[in-house]
C-alpha cells in the first residue's frame, strides 16, 4: 500500500470537519470539528515527514498540537463566558454582525 492513502484519509477527515463546522450550531461541537481538522492536518504532515525522510513535518505537527491546546483553552473559556451571558452555546446567537 502506498502511504499516499494516509493523505487521502487526511483530506477526507479535513473535509468532514469543515462540513461539521458549517453545519453544527453548538459551539462546542463546532470546536470539536475544528480539532478534527487540525488532526487531519497533523496526519498529513506526519505522512509528509515520512515521505521526505526527515522529521521537520513531525516538528510542525508538534507545534500544531501545542497551538491547538492553547486554542482549546482560550476557545472553551470564551464559550463558557458566552454561555454565562446568554444562557446558550449556539453560535447563531452571536449574530451581532447582522446589518
Amino acid at each position: 500500500m502506498n502511504p499516499v492513502n494516509y493523505l487521502y484519509l487526511a483530506a477526507l477527515l479535513f473535509t468532514i470537519g469543515a462540513a461539521g463546522v458549517l453545519i453544527r450550531r453548538n459551539a462546542i461541537v463546532v470546536f470539536m470539528c475544528i480539532e478534527l481538522m487540525l488532526n487531519a492536518c497533523n496526519l498529513a504532515l506526519i505522512t509528509f515527514s515520512r515521505m521526505h525522510g526527515n522529521l521537520d513535518g513531525q516538528i510542525v505537527a508538534f507545534f500544531t498540537m501545542v497551538v491547538a491546546a492553547a486554542e482549546v483553552v482560550v476557545g472553551l473559556a470564551i464559550i463558557v463566558s458566552f454561555y454565562r451571558s446568554r444562557h446558550s452555546a449556539s453560535v447563531d446567537d452571536a449574530a451581532l454582525m447582522k446589518l
Partner: protein, 633 residues
C-alpha cells in the same frame, strides 16, 4: 498723408472711449466734444480729399499698414487701411452727414439725461463705419461691419426702458448676425481659394479660379449685404429699428450703415463680374426689395416707418444697380450719396415734426403743419422732390441713370428689371406724396397725447434746422453736380471700372427719362386724388387685402414667426427637456441601479458566523480549483 487715415478712425474712437468711460462730469460738455471730434474727422477727410485730387486717376489710392493683426501659420490678417476713391466717397458722406447729425442731435436730445452716452454711441458708430470703408481686407472690414451692427444695436435700444426698443435692437442685431454668417463664410472661402482675404490680391487673382467658387463667394457676400442693407429676405429688422431716436434713423438707418451692403458688393465687384449667376441673384434681390419696400411704404401711417420702407426701396435700387456690373457700380454709389442727402434730410424733418408734436408719429394725427414749421416744411419738401425724382433735383439724375442701366442689361432680364424700376419710381412718388400731404397739408388732426396735453407745434431750434438746410441744399444740387459731364463716374472709374450700357433697340435715353417722369407724375396724381382732395380720416380705413398686408410689412414678421421663431422655441424647449430627462436620466438611472443592487446584496450579510464561514470555504474551494487548473494548464 497715410498717417492721417489712422487719425480719421482714431478721432471718433477716442471720442467714444472718453464719453463712455468719462462718467457724469462730462454730462454738460460731452456732446460738444463728440460733435467736435466728428468734425475733426470730416476735416481730415477733406484734407485727404484735396490731396487725392492733387494726383491723377490711378495713383490716388493710399495704403497704410498699421500692424499685423493675427499672424498665424499660413494665415495673415493685417490691420491695414486703403483709401481709394470709393472709400473717399464714403468717408466724406459718413463724416459729413455724421457731423451734421451730431449737431442736430445736440438739439434733439437736449432733454435726455443720457445725452452723453448717446454721443458716445454716435462716435462709436462713426469709427466703426470708417473702419468698414477704410479696411484693406475683408477681415478688418468684418470688424467694422459688426462694429456698426453693435452701434446700431446700442442706438436702436437707446431708450431701453421701452421693451419695444429693446426687442427691436435685439432683432436688428440677430438678423444682422445671420448676414454676418454669410460674410464670414465668404471670407473663409476666399482664404481657402486664394490663401488670403486682402482686397488687392483677391481681386487680382479672381481669374485663376473656377466660376463655381466665385459664385458661392458672391452669394455669401450678397447674404451679408442683405442682412446689413435690409434687403429681402433679411429686411424685417429695419422697420422696427425706427424705435431708435430719429437722428439715429437718419444717420444709420438711412444715410450710411444700411448702404454698407452696396459698398460690399461694389468693393468686391471683380468677384461678381466673374460670377454672372451671382450678379443675376443680386439684381433680382434688388428689384424685389425695391418693390417690397415701396409697397410697405405706401401703407404705413407711422411717418418714420413709411420713410423706412422708402429707404429699403431706394437701397433696392442701389443693389439692383450694383448687380448690373460695371454699367451700374458708379450709379449705385451715386444714388447712394444723393440718397444719403435727401433721405437724411427727410428723416431729420420727420424728427423735427415729432419734436414739435410731442413725439407723435402717426401721420393721421398731423396735418396742416406747413404753417407752423416753415423751415421744416421747405427742407422736407425739397427732400421730397429730390426723392421722387423731380426733374433737376438729385434724385432725378441718380435714379434715372439706374433705370436706364437696368434696361441696358438687355434681353428679357433688362425689360423686367427696368419695368420694376419704373414701377418703383411710380410707387415712390405715391407714398412720398402721401407722406407730404398727410403731414403738411390738409386741416389739422391733432389729438392730445397719452398725458393729455395738446401738442402746440413750433419750429425747431437752430441746432436742428441748420443741418436740415444744409442737407436740403445737398439734395437739390448733388445730383446735377455729379452727373454733369459724368464727373462722378470718372471719379470712381479707376476703382469700379465703367462701361456705357447700350439700351435695347426701340429704346432711347429720352424715352426712358420720359417714362420715369410720367410714372412720377402718375404716382403724385394718384396720391393727390386719395389724400389731397378729400380729408384724411383720423382712423385708418380697413383697406384692401394688400393694404392690410403692407401695414403688417407684407407679413414678413408673421412668416419669420411661424417659420423660424416658433419652431426654434419648440426645439429649445424639447432639448432642455431631453437633456434633463434623457442624457441626465441615463446617468442618474445608472446610479439608482447600483443603489438597488447593493441594497439587495447586503442581504447576504445576515450576521451568522456560519454563513460567513461557508463563503470563506467556498472561496477556498475556488482557489484550490484555480491552482489545480493552473497546474493542469
Amino acid at each position: 498723408m497715410e498717417s492721417l487715415i489712422g487719425l480719421l478712425v482714431a478721432a471718433p474712437l477716442l471720442g467714444a472711449a472718453v464719453l463712455l468711460c468719462g462718467g457724469r462730469r462730462l454730462d454738460r460738455t460731452g456732446h460738444w466734444l463728440g460733435t467736435g471730434l466728428a468734425f475733426t474727422s470730416f476735416v481730415l477727410g477733406l484734407v485727404l480729399f484735396a490731396d487725392m485730387l492733387g494726383k491723377d486717376g490711378e495713383e490716388r489710392a493710399l495704403h497704410s499698414h498699421l500692424f499685423t493683426w493675427i499672424p498665424v501659420e499660413g494665415f495673415q490678417a493685417d490691420a491695414a487701411f486703403q483709401l481709394d476713391q470709393l472709400s473717399m466717397t464714403f468717408v466724406l458722406l459718413i463724416t459729413g452727414v455724421g457731423s451734421l447729425i451730431h449737431v442736430y442731435s445736440v438739439g434733439y436730445m437736449e432733454h435726455d439725461e443720457r445725452r452723453r452716452r448717446f454721443f458716445g454711441y454716435l462716435n462709436l458708430f462713426l469709427a466703426a463705419m470708417l473702419l468698414l470703408v477704410l479696411a484693406d481686407n475683408f477681415l478688418l472690414l468684418y470688424v467694422g461691419w459688426e462694429g456698426v451692427g453693435l452701434a446700431s444695436y446700442l442706438l436702436i435700444g437707446f431708450w431701453q426702458h421701452k421693451p419695444s426698443a429693446a426687442t427691436a435692437a435685439k432683432k436688428a442685431f440677430i438678423v444682422n448676425r445671420v448676414g454676418d454668417v454669410g460674410l464670414s463664410i465668404a471670407i473663409m472661402l476666399m482664404f481657402v481659394t486664394f490663401g488670403t482675404f486682402a482686397f488687392e490680391p483677391v481681386m487680382n487673382s479672381v481669374g485663376e479660379t473656377g466660376e463655381g467658387k466665385l459664385t458661392a463667394i458672391g452669394l455669401m457676400l450678397l447674404l451679408a449685404a442683405c442682412g446689413k442693407s435690409a434687403q429681402v429676405p433679411l429686411q424685417s429688422w429695419l422697420g422696427d429699428a425706427m424705435e431708435g431716436p430719429t437722428p439715429v434713423s437718419a444717420l444709420i438707418h438711412a444715410a450710411t450703415m444700411v448702404t454698407a451692403g452696396v459698398y460690399l458688393i461694389v468693393r468686391s465687384g471683380a468677384i461678381f463680374d466673374a460670377a454672372p449667376d451671382a450678379q443675376l441673384v443680386v439684381t433680382i434681390v434688388g428689384a424685389v426689395t425695391l418693390l417690397f419696400g415701396a409697397i410697405v411704404g405706401c401703407a404705413k401711417d407711422d411717418i418714420k416707418k413709411a420713410l423706412a420702407g422708402s429707404t429699403m426701396s431706394q437701397i433696392g435700387y442701389m443693389i439692383l444697380a450694383a448687380g448690373l456690373g460695371p454699367i451700374g457700380y458708379a450709379f449705385a454709389i451715386m444714388h447712394l450719396v444723393t440718397h444719403g442727402f435727401f433721405k437724411a434730410g427727410l428723416f431729420l424733418g420727420a424728427g423735427s415734426v415729432m419734436h414739435g408734436m410731442n413725439d407723435e408719429v402717426d401721420m393721421r394725427k398731423y396735418g396742416g403743419l406747413r404753417k407752423y414749421m416753415p423751415v421744416t416744411f421747405v427742407t422736407f419738401g425739397l427732400g421730397y422732390l429730390a426723392i421722387i425724382g423731380f426733374p433737376g433735383l438729385s434724385g432725378f439724375f441718380s435714379k434715372d441713370l439706374i433705370i436706364e442701366a437696368a434696361f441696358a442689361k438687355g434681353g428679357t432680364q433688362g425689360w423686367i428689371l427696368g419695368g420694376a424700376a419704373l414701377l418703383g419710381a411710380a410707387l415712390t412718388a405715391y407714398y412720398m406724396t402721401r407722406v407730404m400731404l398727410m403731414t403738411f397739408f390738409g386741416e389739422k388732426r391733432w389729438e392730445a397725447d397719452a398725458k393729455g396735453d395738446m401738442p402746440h407745434p413750433h419750429e425747431s431750434p437752430k441746432t436742428m434746422t441748420i443741418p436740415m438746410i444744409v442737407l436740403a441744399i445737398g439734395s437739390v444740387g448733388a445730383g446735377a453736380f455729379f452727373d454733369i459731364g459724368e464727373r462722378f463716374v470718372h471719379w470712381l472709374e479707376p476703382v469700379t471700372g465703367f462701361e456705357h450700357g447700350h439700351l435695347p433697340d426701340g429704346l432711347s435715353v429720352p424715352m426712358v427719362t420720359g417714362a420715369t417722369v410720367a410714372c412720377m407724375v402718375l404716382g403724385v396724381a394718384a396720391a393727390w386724388l386719395q389724400y389731397g382732395r378729400r380729408p384724411v380720416p383720423a382712423a385708418a380705413p380697413r383697406g384692401s387685402l394688400l393694404t392690410r398686408a403692407a401695414r403688417r410689412d407684407l407679413l414678413q414678421d408673421d412668416f419669420n414667426h411661424v417659420a423660424l421663431v416658433k419652431p426654434g422655441e419648440y426645439l429649445t424647449r424639447g432639448l432642455v427637456y431631453l437633456d434633463h430627462k434623457l442624457v441626465d436620466g441615463i446617468v442618474n438611472g445608472t446610479a439608482a441601479a447600483f443603489g438597488g443592487l447593493s441594497a439587495r446584496m447586503r442581504r447576504v450579510q445576515n450576521g451568522y458566523a456560519r454563513s460567513y464561514a461557508v463563503s470563506m470555504f467556498g472561496g477556498a474551494v475556488v482557489l484550490i480549483a484555480a491552482t489545480l487548473l493552473m497546474r493542469a494548464v
